[in-house]
């Protein structure tokens, strides 16, 4: 069975081919990284997987189902969560609430029953307790305790990134897409993130599709790497192969390490 595969995926904006017949497959449990210079089409790839953009060609298969063209909420329901290169939090809510929204999929209580929540032993009450327990676990894991009831809008960048990660984890995904989780962080923070990503893979058993700029980090944690340039895949393989690939070296030589700002 195919866990996750992208086949001949293409995406054009006007005349611009942001993705040009990209194919790869991820096996369950691995950390798969996508690298490439600014504007290579990495974020666009995520947006296509998520259903934010409808791809112009190709297929996306998740657990043997073609999920290409599904709406974002459907993709989320299928078990794929993500974080954004530019943070997309609910800035007028606190940390707890943000992560809690990640549990939305697990709140079965609909309009009516939600209104009939009479105390802890009711169905809705039990559900609520279970959800809170999960959220607390995530808060502990990511060491976010001190920010629990702070509005996220005013928190430091690194913390916001963590909250976003927490929110994605709250959805209990099988596949987690991380778009430059270390962007804008200092070396120490980056180190932390590397640990968490490994934890997530090991302890929670979540498969990770990662976009990252920082070559060292990518080499360090990825099982396999795909290199994109101008929307085209130019290399794919284990870190050692990819790092010596001539085209990759060429593509990366002219690249200054600036953060790119294009998001969804």
């Amino acid at each position: 069975m195919t866990f996750f595969a992208v086949e001949d995926l293409s995406m054009t904006f006007g005349g611009l081919k942001a993705l040009d017949k990209v194919s790869f497959e991820i096996t369950r449990g691995e950390i798969f990284a996508v690298i490439g210079p600014n504007g290579a089409g990495k974020t666009t790839l995520f947006n296509c997987i998520n259903g934010i953009y409808p791809p112009t060609g190709g297929d996306i298969v998740f657990k043997n189902n073609n999920i290409r063209g599904l709406k974002p909420d459907r993709v989320a329901k299928a078990g794929i969560a993500r974080t954004f290169q530019n943070i997309e939090l609910f800035s007028n809510m606190n940390t707890m609430e943000n992560i809690m929204i990640g549990r939305h999929l697990f709140m079965k209580t609909g309009l009516l029953r939600g209104g009939l929540m009479w105390g802890r032993r009711s169905f809705a009450g039990k559900e609520e307790i279970e959800n809170r327990r999960k959220v607390e676990q995530i808060i502990d894991l990511l060491e976010l305790q001190t920010f629990r009831s702070k509005f996220v809008g005013g928190l430091p960048y690194g913390i916001q990134k963590k909250i976003e990660l927490g929110r994605a984890l709250a959805a209990e995904p099988e596949l987690l897409l991380l778009d430059e989780p270390c962007a804008g962080m200092n070396a120490e923070e980056k180190q932390d993130v590397v640990f968490w990503i490994k934890d997530i893979q090991d302890e929670l058993g979540i498969t990770i599709l990662l976009i990252e700029h920082d070559m060292n980090m990518v080499m360090d944690i990825s099982n396999r790497i795909l290199v994109l340039n101008f929307g085209r895949p130019i290399a794919m393989g284990v870190p050692d192969e990819v790092s010596v690939h001539p085209e990759v070296l060429k593509a990366y030589l002219g690249e200054d390490d600036a953060d790119d700002a294009s998001g969804p």
Binding site: N50, I52, K71, P72, D73, V75, A76, K77, A81, R82, F84, N86, I87, E88, L89, F90, S91, N92, M93, E97, M100, I101, G102, H104, L105, M107, T109, G110, L111, G114, G115, M117, G153, R167, A171, P264
Partner: protein, 291 residues
């Protein structure tokens, strides 16, 4: 002094129907970011449907009112689903024009189907009885309206604070992209929000109808509700309610002490003053919305 108290009481009485309209408008503003000028007519049509259920089909007032509320829910959802959502590259001006167009269509429909004759909606409580407290009076109908309005506000606040849907709505409003990625069906959230808004407005319409029903009955409450919503900052439910009561009370004090001639338009002066002093409205909470 007694006059002053009486004016404040009457202002609050009239403010209740403004408040319900204001709540409806804010709900929709939060969901679709448009001042909804079809708010009044989303209530008007269900009110006339209730009338028709009573007189043409012989249903009891109770059933007819529930029918109207149910119909309002469907109507609100339908307008969002069939019209508002279809707007291509919606900008605020375009959406305003869409709501004004809908307003004219629904008003035309009611005028055409029911004619211009004034009518009275049957209601268990007399529209003209009152409660006297010393020299102060408040009409029973006003009192009922006040309590119903308060009850609806409380239910709405609880609903949006604690229910799954309420959280989804808040998320949708703050960051639709992220909301969708959390599995929230933002389109459906918007649609249901329109339905809820129409239902809330219809409650106000049903409480006005026992005094007099005619196709233009919702126009004034809608405009004053809008004024209240703007005063409250357009995005805050408590703000809308507070703003609506302010408008009601100011109208009455102004009519009583300054000039009856301009009583009907003083609400718009209130808007201007509030916007000058606090451009985002009295209750607006600012949050940075990322795109």
């Amino acid at each position: 002094m007694i006059d002053f108290i009486q004016m404040v009481i009457s202002g609050i009485a009239v403010g209740s129907s403004y408040a319900l309209m204001a709540l409806g408008m804010v709900l929709i503003y939060k969901a679709s970011e448009v001042p909804n000028f079809v708010q009044g007519e989303m209530a008007l049509l269900p009110v006339f449907i209730a009338y028709m259920m009573i007189y043409s089909y012989g249903y009891s007032v109770f059933i007819a009112f529930f029918g109207a509320l149910f119909f309002a829910m469907i109507l609100g959802c339908f307008l969002e689903f069939a019209v508002v959502r279809r707007a291509k590259n919606p900008n605020i001006l375009g959406l305003i024009i869409v709501t004004i167009g809908l307003e004219m269509i629904l008003l035309g429909l009611v005028s055409w189907k029911f004619g211009a004759d004034q009518r009275i909606m049957p209601f268990p409580i007399s529209s003209y009885s009152s409660v006297m407290i010393g020299d102060l009076y408040i009409s029973t109908m006003d009192l009922v309206t006040l309590f119903v309005a308060l009850a609806i506000m409380i239910v709405l606040f609880l609903f949006f604070r604690f229910s799954k849907f309420g959280v989804a709505m808040k998320a949708t409003q703050q960051n639709p992209t992220a909301a969708r990625l959390m599995g929230i069906r933002t389109n459906r959230v918007k649609m249901v929000t329109w339905g809820i808004s129409a239902t809330v407005g219809t409650v106000s319409g049903l409480l006005l109808a026992p005094v007099i029903m005619e196709p233009y009955m919702m126009w004034n409450p809608m405009l004053k509700g809008f004024a209240g919503a703007v005063v409250g900052g357009m995005t805050s439910l408590p703000g809308a309610v507070f703003g609506a009561y302010i408008v009601g009370v100011v109208e009455h004090l102004f009519g009583g002490y300054v000039s009856m001639d301009f009583k009907a338009v003083v609400a718009f002066a209130v808007i201007v003053i509030v916007l000058c002093v606090k451009p985002s409205g009295l209750f607006a909470r600012h949050y940075v919305k990322k795109v």
